[in-house]
């Protein structure tokens, strides 16, 4: 029985495939290509060849080889596996030294212990700062930057101004000043805006009660606070007040029915949501006629620069047009980022003279 060409072809191909599989599985790696010999025509001319490279002579003689043992432990004393010969002596000596040092540390104390030890509990601070307390029904008459500190042993908002607190609104306890109405707390060193009013201590002394003895003779001013401002605290460390002024340059908002075009707002220069404002619900928009100096917190009406600038906390009477902030945005005005979501009104003080009045 002879075979056909087709049968031979199929069998031959299958045999070759099997042999190829066996060969490639036995040598799966890639072929090793010879490194091409440098072409003599491409050799660099002698002038481009570097000179002889200095060769540091190798040390001649036997090089000590330290046996390195990894994982596998050689026979040794308990606790010193794998250490034999001189290394065992070194290890034993080191261990003995540690034991002696530890015993000495125990005997002497903790002087030899370099590890950080938990600090001894500090005694609870005893606050001897008194708060000048008075009961007042006065409203917010001004706004000032308060830097909570201690002057003559009494709580103060400035080096020349003590803080007088109403116990019904404020609680001074354990180094924390708490405003009962808002829940805001202030600590020594905090800087914030605080509404209220100031009066000479000498004039108010007669009306005060609960005057701390340490500051009974203080001859500066007394600041009677109202509610603390909800705006962000002003950090005066750099001398710059991060208060933005709404620039209304180029913004033209026509008066609409129901909106007064005359004297719009009587209020105080304050900060609301990080923006200059004249009332908690009225931001102040200024154009080129106004100059806001964030470093000093002064607002100046340029045409009357010779007059005193307005400062935060000053009572002001500003002319202008009061429009909803949403309309300012609709007209193309851009509020500063911090007060971009402000929902109150904006006083466009363009072209108006401030009628400042001392607080």
């Amino acid at each position: 029985m002879s075979i056909t060409e087709h049968e031979l072809a199929v069998a031959f191909r299958a045999r070759v495939d099997d042999e190829a599989d066996a060969l490639l599985s036995a040598h799966p790696g890639p072929l090793t290509l010879p490194v091409p010999e440098p072409d003599p025509a491409g050799a660099a001319p002698a002038a481009d060849l570097a000179g002889p490279v200095p060769v540091r002579p190798l040390p001649v003689g036997p090089v000590p080889v330290r046996p390195v043992r990894v994982r596998r432990s050689a026979p040794g004393a308990p606790g010193l596996p794998g250490l034999t010969g001189p290394w065992r002596v070194v290890a034993l000596a080191a261990a003995a030294a540690l034991v002696v040092a530890g015993a000495a540390a125990v005997l002497v104390g903790r002087s030899g212990d370099v590890r950080p030890q938990p600090a001894a509990p500090e005694p609870e601070p005893t606050w001897t700062v008194g708060a000048w307390t008075m009961h007042t029904d006065g409203g917010m008459e001004a706004l000032r930057v308060a830097h909570l500190q201690v002057v003559d042993g009494c709580l103060a908002v400035g080096p020349r101004t003590l803080l007088v607190v109403d116990p019904s609104s404020w609680l001074w306890q354990d180094g924390v000043l708490l405003h009962r109405g808002t829940g805001r707390t202030f600590e020594l060193g905090d800087t914030f805006l605080l509404g209220g009013g100031e009066a000479p201590a000498a004039q108010s002394r007669a009306a005060q009660r609960d005057v701390p003895a340490s500051c009974a003779d203080f001859d500066g001013g007394l600041w009677s606070p109202s509610d603390p401002q909800a705006g962000p605290a002003i950090v005066d460390g750099s001398g710059t007040l991060p208060v933005a002024a709404l620039d209304t340059s180029g913004l033209r908002v026509e008066p609409v029915d129901g909106l007064p075009a005359g004297p719009a707002v009587e209020g105080r220069l304050m900060v609301v949501d990080g923006c200059l404002a004249v009332a908690p619900d009225v931001l102040l928009g200024v154009d080129h006629g106004w100059l806001w100096d964030g470093a000093t917190g002064a607002l100046t009406w340029v045409p009357s620069a010779q007059s005193e600038p307005l400062r935060l906390g000053d009572a002001v009477r500003l002319e202008g047009m009061r429009v909803p902030a949403a309309r300012v945005r609709a007209e193309g005005g851009t509020l500063p980022a911090s007060c971009a979501g402000f929902t109150g009104d904006v006083l466009l003080a363009t072209g108006a003279h401030p009628a400042a009045s001392a607080g």
Partner: protein, 183 residues
């Protein structure tokens, strides 16, 4: 530094290209080499020698219409060049019909016929390899071997007759094994 050195292509990219080419076509080249040499070590050496030639003539290979076909031709011709001196001796030793009555019995086995391919002259093995392993027609085989189509047919006829294989009437490709992708 001569100007030719600046315009000469760098060596490393050619080396990498050849390496990639061989990685892609190594199996196919090994199959052809096994069909020719009929033994693994010889096939491996043949592919390795082919790789050296590829490295040397890579510019021609990569610009060829079919780089693999070019490389395959290079491998086959390299093999024939290597065995050129031994072919006469092998053919001469087997000039007389080697098929004995007991061998005829073996030929009834397809596997035995395949095994006897190793005893064929190199050119005959090349023809059978290209025809059955690479599934080339006579014209393509003639191009690879650099011979005429009639020489291909005669060589195949003699080889099959020695293997006691009943030749199929070659009416085109329908009588041959269908195309098969190399594994």
């Amino acid at each position: 530094m001569d100007s030719d050195a600046l315009t000469r292509p760098p060596v490393a990219p050619v080396h990498d290209e050849v390496a990639r080419f061989l990685a892609e076509h190594r199996r196919a080249l090994v199959r052809v080499a096994l069909g020719l040499t009929r033994e693994p070590a010889g096939a491996e050496d043949l592919v390795q020698d082919t790789a050296v030639r590829l490295l040397r003539h890579w510019d021609k290979v990569r610009t060829a219409r079919s780089p693999f076909a070019y490389a395959r031709t290079m491998l086959v011709r390299l093999y024939l060049d290597q065995v050129r001196g031994t072919e006469v001796e092998v053919v001469g030793a087997r000039r007389r019909e080697p098929v004995a009555p007991d061998e005829i019995a073996h030929l009834e086995s397809v596997d035995a016929a395949v095994s006897m391919i190793a005893g064929l002259p190199p050119r005959a093995r090349a023809v059978l390899t290209l025809r059955y392993v690479e599934d080339l027609d006579d014209r393509a085989i003639a191009e690879v071997l650099g011979i005429t189509r009639s020489t291909v047919r005669v060589t195949a006829h003699h080889a099959l007759r020695r293997l006691s294989v009943t030749e199929t009437a070659r009416r085109g490709r329908q009588d041959r094994p269908g195309p098969r992708e190399p594994r």
